[in-house]
């Protein structure tokens, strides 16, 4: 295998359940190459959020493993029924959630500098400078000292993205980051993510917005029933799906849209 094609992330037969009765991921295999932007689509309850949460180390797994840059960082040990997470590797991954999850008691800029100062020991002055620059870039320069409750949903979500970027992630996970937004605010957030795509930041995106999926994806994965049903370039999966289940889903989603 050449270096260029070595996977950035490799998910191997990932199983995950919530309690004894809710099996969500039933043997998921995904390989993601450097620079890829993978959009994950699928029916509600299909386990898309669960997949991202597992990759972020927020959930335990039943079995399987995930490697990042060749290093295994999430695995399950059969003996102790425990999930082993390499927190050092995990730090190279950033995640943005549907509901912003900003720290409400901190101003926008304090939200941004908390992690760099506390996790990496960066000097406050340098972190503040980087944070201000990032906010300017996202059109939020004037909001540095506002509190999250004073922002619109679109602004909050852009702050959340900026906060994750402060740690220079090597992979970004976006879980339906525009689903909670009023329709007129969706574009401003998607623009920011497209900006990051132009810089070749690898990302995995869960979205129900097919226009956005088409525009940002270098690859689309259709997940249903806890497994990967179809995996290919956007023109194939969104335009001319090979699998019957994918076609049904795409038809339904586009039908609702129009």
């Amino acid at each position: 295998m050449t270096a260029a094609s070595a996977p950035l992330v490799s998910i191997q037969s990932l199983h995950k359940s919530y309690g004894p009765h809710i099996q969500v991921l039933k043997g998921l295999d995904i390989e993601m190459k450097p620079g890829e932007r993978v959009v994950v689509i699928g029916p509600s309850g299909g386990g898309k959020s669960t997949l991202l949460r597992v990759m972020m180390g927020l959930e335990k797994i039943d079995s399987g493993a995930i490697t990042f840059g060749g290093k295994p960082y999430i695995s399950s040990s059969d003996l102790a029924a425990k999930t082993v997470i390499d927190t050092e590797v995990r730090r190279s991954i950033g995640m943005v959630f549907q509901h912003y999850t900003l720290f409400p008691h901190l101003s926008v800029i304090q939200n941004l500098v908390l992690a760099p100062c506390k996790v990496r020991g960066e000097k406050k002055a340098s972190a503040l400078q980087r944070a201000q620059a990032l906010l300017e870039r996202f059109g939020l320069g004037a909001k540095a000292n506002a509190f999250p409750a004073q922002l619109s949903g679109g602004q909050k979500q852009r702050v959340a993205i900026a906060r994750a970027l402060m740690l220079d992630p090597k992979l970004m996970l976006f879980d339906e980051v525009t689903s909670a937004l009023d329709p007129e605010l969706v574009a401003e957030v998607e623009q920011v993510i497209l900006q990051l795509a132009n810089q070749n930041l690898p990302m995995m995106i869960v979205t129900h917005d097919m226009w956005f999926a088409k525009n940002i994806a270098s690859r689309v994965i259709f997940c249903a029933g806890g497994v990967v049903v179809e995996d290919g370039p956007p023109e194939q999966v969104l335009g001319a799906p090979r699998e019957e289940r994918t076609r049904e889903f795409i038809d339904r989603v586009f039908h609702i849209k129009q």
Binding site: L102, P104, H105, A115, K118, V119
Partner: protein, 221 residues
Amino acid sequence: MTLDFSVLLRFQEALAVGLWTTIKLTLICVVLGCSLGFLVGLARTSPSIIVRGIASVYVEFFRGTPVLIQLFWIFFCLPLVLGVELSNLASGVIALTLYMGAITSETFRASLKSVGREQLDACIALGLPRHVQVVNVILPQAVLRAVPTLLSNCVSLFKESALVSAVGMADLMFVGQNISNNTARPVEVLTIVALIYFAIAFPLTRAVTLIEGRILKKLAI
């Protein structure tokens, strides 16, 4: 019978001294009680079952018995158990602090629980170490959320503090009772004393409502 409030004019100074004692006692017990309540609130979320057990026995006991009995018990029985003499100030402070600690620990516990799972997820996604999660994210939000209820707890304590007059502490209530005995004008005296309590407690309860609105607005995201 005619009401004559003018008899009280002679006792302005005594009432002021009593009020000052009440305020001082309340403030001391607010500070000590809230600190105790904070620690006990944390203890009740401890992973150790022993720590949790001790904390909840304490809280349930002090929440489930009349403050007056707690006060008498500390004034009369504790000196026998410990073999030391307690001044009425000391027993008043101990009793009210323990009472305040018990009720505010519930306030702190509830507010700790109200900091949602999503905030923790965000902390983990940012790689924040455990102590940073607690000190910089969870505790500030929990304390902020606790403020309105804590203020209500303080108002309750201010009113409950009248009980220390029963063990002979010269607080506002005690002074009032004395005046009423000396003048045989219980209606006038007790009315005025009640109004003094009300004049302080009422603005505080209004403030609670105001502050609560502000904090909820700030934390709503």
